[in-house]
């Protein structure tokens, strides 16, 4: 009898928590992460590298700025938290947006691929989120606008177990909190 009661308690607790999780999960932007990533991986690596200079030159240009802001993921090399040059334009655009309106807040979500140990990966994901945070601060964003969280290897966007999937999962997502 005791055991039945105990399991009921556990189950109802988990239902409550599942409910909470559901509400909070709605915070995520409606765009499917899979889609936004597959498009940005395809174009970012090649096109964005060439774009960097152009975007700087036409900082005022609405369409280039909008294109840079549409990219909300920064990708990393294996076991690295160094921001690759091809993401300078993306970060600069988000930095300008944050600098122009200090009411706007973003959460920087650090992620890793699935290899290696889980808690070390949480630390590595945090390091990546902090690297993006520092870059945004340099663009004029303020500390109060930026929060970080690291999910380590827990929240991949690509399901595979090869370098192609891993490259998409080693990332920081820039999540706007005001725009939900």
């Amino acid at each position: 009898m005791n055991r039945t009661l105990c399991v009921t308690v556990l189950l109802s607790l988990s239902l409550v928590l599942a409910g909470c999780g559901g509400k909070k999960a709605a915070v995520k932007p409606p765009a499917s992460p899979g889609e936004s990533v597959s498009s940005s991986v395809g174009t970012t690596a090649g096109a964005a590298g060439a774009q960097t200079g152009a975007a700087e030159a036409m900082a005022g240009s609405g369409s280039a700025e909008a294109a840079a802001l549409a990219k909300t993921a920064i990708y990393f090399d294996f076991d690295s938290s160094e921001i690759r040059p091809e993401f300078a334009a993306t970060i600069a655009a988000h930095g300008r947006k944050l600098a122009s309106d200090h009411m706007v807040k973003v959460r920087l979500e650090g992620n890793t691929d699935e290899r290696g140990s889980a808690e070390y990966n949480v630390a590595l994901g945090e390091r990546r989120a902090q690297a993006v945070k520092r870059a945004l601060l340099l663009q004029g964003a303020t500390d109060g606008q930026l929060s970080t969280v690291s999910y380590g290897e827990e929240r991949p966007v690509a399901a595979g177990h090869d370098e192609q999937a891993w490259a998409q999962n080693r990332r920081v997502d820039i999540v706007y909190l005001g725009s939900r």
Binding site: G21, K24, S150
Partner: protein, 436 residues
């Protein structure tokens, strides 16, 4: 046992104490993937009264011993007789069946519950090696059987078994973007799976208290990490660390009063701390710009092992918990050694190591520094010692699925543990449940 009054009493007992159904998809299946080449033949004779007792105790013992990979049970169809006491036991007959050991026993009702009695005989010498009787409620019969298996294992092999134990793990289900994380505990044979916590945000790093009554874990509910300590019997839980940044990698001290954990500072740098669970005071243990995480206690509680990339790549270090002490590096073989778990006797650590381009589980001898790779997967992680120190449980990927696997520290026996649905990850082997 044929007494009709007893029969009715038992039926009444059974009606009131039906076993609780476990969530089917969280249930685990354990499969031996490699055993020793010459397992010891043993006969576990049915304990009788199968229709009156809700658990086939002999079958549970038989399955435990077989699952260890070190024993081979005698099929019941090969048994000519089913003696339940020494009176009916004709050892000459069992010698002909080429069995080395025989276990006979019985389950008798005793004041509202049961009494499980069993005896172990050496078939060759005729010596009676064990004779035990333990009381058990209906829902404690499986545990009584596991304890009997532990005693039999220890008597024959000279090392304690790890059958009367549980494992905690995280079951992840659903497609990317709609994942659900479930923290589950189950008996070491995969039975009695119970969901401790379910969430749409990640759950990580379950860790047992030394008495097996509480579980510490990391949950990202609220989209930030926090460490909780949950009492399993009541479901009551306490959020013990929810600071800004990372709250991760909890590990109970051997006395159960403190929790080693990893916290990040405002700049994201992760260091190891020790939290006093009674006073909530937090003591900094490491202070380094590198990543310091995944602390685990030496059995004497006087030092901590942890992962650090202070030398560029992740390696395991040890720090004595005294003022002014500096960490000393303990792993040197290979470019990646992380997530140390100390063996119960404190002589070795199990780690995740990079071996020929693959992430595998290795045991590192602390006296010699020598490393032995134990597993042969590509994405193996999360090693956890059985309380007898003989087996390492870890998480692996098999055909893209997350499963658990075990390997004996001598490499002789391996098994695979999988769930019906989803990935199984982050295993933690419990201490022994109660004492035999």
């Amino acid at each position: 046992m044929t007494d009709p009054r007893r029969f009715l009493a038992l039926l009444g007992l059974l009606a009131g104490l039906g076993p609780c159904a476990a969530p089917a998809s969280a249930q685990l299946t354990v499969q031996i993937t490699r055993g020793v080449t010459t397992p010891i033949p043993v006969a576990i004779v049915p304990f009788g009264a199968e229709n009156l007792v809700p658990v086939d105790v002999a079958a549970v013992i038989d399955a435990d011993l077989a699952r260890s990979g070190r024993f081979q049970g005698l099929p019941r169809t090969s048994m000519l007789q089913h003696p339940t006491s020494a009176i009916g036991l004709d050892l000459a007959q069992w010698r002909l069946l080429k069995t080395d050991f025989i276990v006979i026993g019985r389950v008798a009702p005793a004041s509202g519950s049961y009494r499980v009695e069993f005896e172990l005989y050496n078939v060759v010498t005729g010596e009676r090696l064990l004779g035990y009787g333990v009381p058990a409620a209906a829902d404690g019969l499986r545990l009584a059987a596991h304890r009997a298996a532990d005693l039999i294992y220890e008597k024959i092999l000279g090392v304690p078994g790890a059958f009367a134990t549980r494992i905690a793990y995280v079951n992840v289900q659903g497609p990317i973007g709609a994942r659900r994380w479930r923290l589950v505990i189950a008996d070491a044979d995969g039975e009695n799976a119970q969901v401790v916590l379910e969430s749409r945000q990640p759950i990580m790093s379950p860790a047992w208290s030394p008495d097996g009554a509480r579980l510490a874990y990391v949950s990202f509910e609220g989209q930030m990490s926090a460490i909780y300590v949950q009492t399993l019997a009541t479901g009551a839980r306490e959020r013990v660390s929810a600071r800004a940044g990372i709250n991760g990698a909890p590990a109970f001290s051997p006395d159960g009063r403190r929790l080693a954990l990893a916290l990040s500072q405002a700049d994201g740098n992760v260091d190891v701390f020790v939290l006093d669970l009674a006073t909530h005071s937090m003591l900094r243990i490491t202070d380094d710009p590198a990543i310091d995480t995944e602390p685990n206690w030496a059995p004497d509680g006087l030092s901590l092992f942890f992962t650090s990339d202070r030398a560029g790549r992740p390696q395991v270090y040890r720090i004595t918990l005294a003022p002014g002490e500096r960490p000393k590096r303990v792993t040197f073989e290979g470019s990646y050694n992380a997530r140390p778990r100390v063996s119960p006797d404190g002589t070795q650590i199990a780690v995740v190591t990079l071996d020929q381009g693959a992430y595998r589980i290795a045991a590192v001898d602390l006296a010699t520094g020598r490393s032995r790779v134990l597993s042969n997967g590509h994405l193996d992680e999360g090693p956890s010692f059985a309380p007898n120190g003989q087996i390492v449980l870890y998480a692996a990927r098999e055909a893209g699925r997350g499963v658990l696997a075990t390997v004996a520290v001598d490499g002789s026996v391996t098994s695979r543990i999988s769930a019906a649905d989803g990935d199984v990850r982050e295993p933690a082997w419990s201490p022994r449940i109660g004492s035999p």
